[in-house]
């Protein structure tokens, strides 16, 4: 009995000690954090430690922001009445706090020291902050970063960005990039983006990767458990989507007037609604041959494809020849 009580006391002591240590570290981190309000960086800068953003930070053309491995950047939830937005609160900006990159961002973490972009809220939720927003940025790089609770983790117009070995979770959409046709008095708005996304994980977002009229290289990613779609190409693209694991999403690939997307050598299976589905306005047949759909049973594969076989008004998704075994993708490593 005495031994039992001693063990119990030890656990209580350990719990108490852990709690004290946790709160001490949290308080210490809060004191050490750098708080920034809306501002434009006027020269190259390097961030490290913990940065709390209370508004937009703008990296203009010609300026490079470097973020050191192990840095954590937290965004406070603001609204359009906060006066912490630098520009408009509508497209291509957000009414939420965002990191706007017109110059260059180099966020290179390491496997051991990832760079974290997240919400500063005590109870975070998707869309607490806007995005890492690339607008006409060239040669930016993000590797070993973790992005969560943004409206769009990464958002881009007319930009070239390389993303690798990173994680996107609890965002509206993990990565969203596009070319718009409207003129907002900025040339990059209507220019093509080119994103290279590899060896990354997308999970528990509403959508994984969405792109419109853009160039994309999307390979060796693990895209699962996203509540609406894994990958959503739209309109005239030049994209290679290969060696990705796309499973357990609501819709695996969702198509909206998509052309120019080479989709092959992926594992696309086990998505709850459809592995591939065409949206209402898809007017072009889509080639999805040479992918693994989790089975070699043609009838079962067809059940998970939403196209003209479901509704004659829709176009056909070509799935044959399909792969007869899973692809070794080595995703998210």
């Amino acid at each position: 009995m005495k031994l039992h009580l001693n063990i119990k006391c030890s656990w209580i002591r350990l719990f108490f000690l852990s709690t004290v240590i946790f709160f001490t570290i949290s308080a210490f981190q809060a004191v050490l954090a750098t708080e920034l309000f809306k501002q434009t960086l006027i020269k190259d800068a390097t961030w490290n430690g913990t940065i709390i953003l209370n508004g937009d930070v703008y990296v203009p053309s010609g300026v490079t922001l470097t973020i050191s491995p192990g840095t954590t950047i937290k965004f406070r939830k603001i609204d359009k009445n906060s006066e912490q937005n630098l520009f408009s609160t509508t497209t291509p900006y957000y009414h939420l706090a965002e990191l706007i990159i017109r110059g260059k961002l180099l966020a290179r973490g390491t496997a051991d020291k990832q760079i974290v972009f997240t919400s500063a809220e005590s109870i975070p939720s998707p869309a607490d902050w806007g995005a890492v927003n690339f607008l006409g940025s060239q040669e930016s790089e993000m590797e070993y970063v973790k992005i969560s609770y943004a409206y769009n983790g990464i958002h881009a117009h007319g930009s070239t960005v390389k993303v690798s070995n990173s994680e996107f979770s609890h965002n509206g959409v993990g990565i969203s990039f596009k070319k718009e046709t409207k003129d907002v008095a900025a040339p990059w708005f209507a220019e093509t983006s080119n994103l290279m996304i590899s060896y990354s994980k997308f999970f528990k977002n509403k959508g994984g990767i969405a792109f419109r009229s853009s160039q994309a290289s999307i390979h060796h990613n693990d895209i699962r458990d996203n509540s609406f779609f894994a990958i959503w190409p739209k309109e005239d693209c030049e994209a290679l989507v290969t060696y990705n694991e796309i499973t357990d999403n609501k819709k695996g690939i969702y198509l909206y007037q998509a052309r120019g997307v080479q989709l092959e050598q992926n594992n696309i299976y086990g998505n709850s609604s459809y592995d591939i589905a065409v949206g209402e306005a898809q007017d072009y047949p889509f080639n999805a041959a040479n992918n693994w759909f989790g089975t070699t049973d043609m009838e079962k594969i067809r059940e998970m494809i939403f196209d003209k076989h479901s509704d004659p008004d829709l176009v056909e998704i070509v799935i044959e020849p399909f792969l007869r075994e899973a692809v070794d993708i080595g995703a998210g490593q």
Binding site: T90, H95, Y151, S176, K206, F228, F229, Y256, S273, E280
Partner: protein, 193 residues
């Protein structure tokens, strides 16, 4: 007292299929609280979401006057309208058959309120002995600029109220089943989503 229950359909997807704007637009469907209106509303909400990727919210109103006030204020973009209710609202007399009533009401709504009536869901099951009136998906014309595929999608529900399984769906909603789930299961089984 106006009572508005806002239900966000399934997930709050942050994109609009048509605009693909950086911050997505949302479509609002306004509905009365009856089981039939709830079911028709959810059939529209589900098919629009699934086939266009657009976020859809549903707002419920206690009576037609409140719902129509919300339409006028542009707080609601779409509603399941009944041609009998529409006729009463415009102070018009009923025609001789359902087609003529629909034609009159369709023109009246477009001219007076800039509301576009699409293909009818079919005869109103609320008044089974009265074949004069039908339920119709009705859209504020101003939203068609940003959502041009909307008529195409909603017209897929044409005649759905005449489906032999519809009374069973309605009974299910009346028994307390969630209208959104009933609508989703039905459309999925029919491979419409």
């Amino acid at each position: 007292m106006k009572k508005i229950i806002v239900l966000t359909l399934a997930i709050v997807l942050l994109l609009s299929a048509n605009s693909f704007a950086c911050v997505g637009r949302t479509l609002i469907i306004g509905s009365l609280n009856s089981s039939n209106d709830k079911l028709l509303t959810q059939l529209m909400a589900v098919i629009v979401t699934e086939r266009t990727g657009t976020t859809v919210e549903v707002k419920y109103y206690d009576n037609h006057a409140q719902l129509f006030e919300a339409i006028k204020k542009k707080e609601v973009n779409i509603l399941p309208e009944n041609t009998g209710r529409a006729l009463k609202l415009m102070g018009m007399k009923a025609g001789e058959d359902a087609d003529s009533v629909y034609s009159v009401v369709k023109k009246g709504y477009k001219d007076m309120f800039q509301l576009i009536m699409l293909k009818p869901f079919g005869a109103s099951v609320v008044n089974p002995d009265d074949k004069l009136f039908v339920d119709v998906p009705t859209v504020d014309s101003s939203v068609l600029v940003n959502f041009p595929v909307l008529p195409r999608v909603l017209n897929k529900l044409a005649g759905i109220a005449a489906d032999k399984k519809y009374p069973k769906l309605l009974a299910s909603v009346e028994a307390g089943d969630e209208a959104s789930k009933v609508a989703k299961d039905f459309l999925k089984k029919k491979r419409m989503i």
